[in-house]
């Protein structure tokens, strides 16, 4: 019978990088959504595809942030063990920023009259 102790001990860096990148992507979506409400200039800059309007840019920067930060952090953290509890706390904080920034009663606080 195989035992789990036979499994190779893998460093946690790549998973921490993925969690942090997910948090960064989420936070960028929240930030872009809120900034688009606060500034007409930002909103116009985020219109990457006219039929979709600024949602194309908001989600575009979030997805680019997610994958780009994942690649960078993966290269930094691969083969290493990091403080996983701290990485998780940062990732969840970033995820929470993303959830707040995409909640209409929150981002509407920043609507430019």
């Amino acid at each position: 019978m195989t035992t789990l102790s036979n499994t190779q001990e893998l460093p946690n860096g790549p998973v921490a990088a993925a969690l942090l990148a997910g948090g960064a992507g989420a936070a960028m979506l929240g930030l872009a959504t809120t900034l688009a409400e606060a500034s007409a200039g930002v909103k116009n800059l985020l219109v990457w595809f006219n039929p979709v309007g600024p949602l194309s840019g908001k989600t575009g920067v979030a997805v680019i942030t997610f994958f780009a930060s994942w690649i960078v952090m993966h290269l930094i953290f691969r083969g290493k063990n990091v403080n996983f509890a701290r990485a998780t706390a940062v990732a969840l904080t970033l995820l929470f920023i993303g959830l707040m920034g995409t909640f209409p009663p929150f981002f509407e606080l920043f609507v430019k009259e």
């Binding site: 499994t7 993925a18 989420a26 998780t88 995820l95």
Partner: protein
């Protein structure tokens, strides 16, 4: 009995892609939650990990398909500037305006968090494989991300269903 191409895309986006993701969540969560060496044999964990990897990557792909089809195919019809678009119809009546100003505004943004979170979970399970069973902190963090993916997809799906009931895309 017939449906228009627009109705067909709306069904594909919400009822096939979106609903498939939400339905698959329970299986994925149960798999992650019960991935413990004290509950399952080593052979059982190996067998379960294979199912989790396939299931979680399928969920991540479905989540991306849901938000991309929703944003780039269905949403332009919803937000069209003509008076017959769903957005125009909702905003024309103060009694239904909040379906757009709150419901659609929340749905169109928060739904994009689901594929991001689901992809992170799928990658981590693939990376660790059976070793994830022994990693309590990592598994807990992944379950939080997985629940976040489900919660955000649920919000998007729920408002999508209600909004399409009040002002259908035809």
């Amino acid at each position: 009995m017939s449906i228009s191409p627009r109705e067909g895309w709306t069904v594909l986006h919400g009822m096939l892609f979106g609903a498939a993701f939400l339905l698959a969540f329970a299986g994925g969560f149960a798999g992650l939650y019960s991935l413990r060496p004290e509950w399952v044999t080593a052979e059982g964990i190996k067998e379960r990990i294979l199912r989790l990897k396939v299931g979680l990557w399928a969920m991540a792909l479905i989540a991306w398909a849901t938000v991309i089809s929703g944003t780039y195919i269905v949403y332009p019809w919803y937000r069209a500037s003509d008076a017959t678009s769903a957005r125009s119809i909702l905003l024309a009546d103060p009694a239904t305006a909040a379906w757009h100003t709150f419901g659609m505004e929340w749905k169109e943004h928060v739904g994009w968090l689901a594929p991001i979170a689901a992809t992170v979970v799928a990658f981590a399970v693939t990376y660790y494989g059976p070793a994830l069973a022994k990693k309590v902190g990592e598994r807990r963090a992944l379950m939080i991300f997985f629940v976040a993916a489900f919660a955000t997809a649920s919000i998007a799906g729920m408002f999508g269903a209600f909004i399409n009931k009040v002002a259908p895309i035809r």
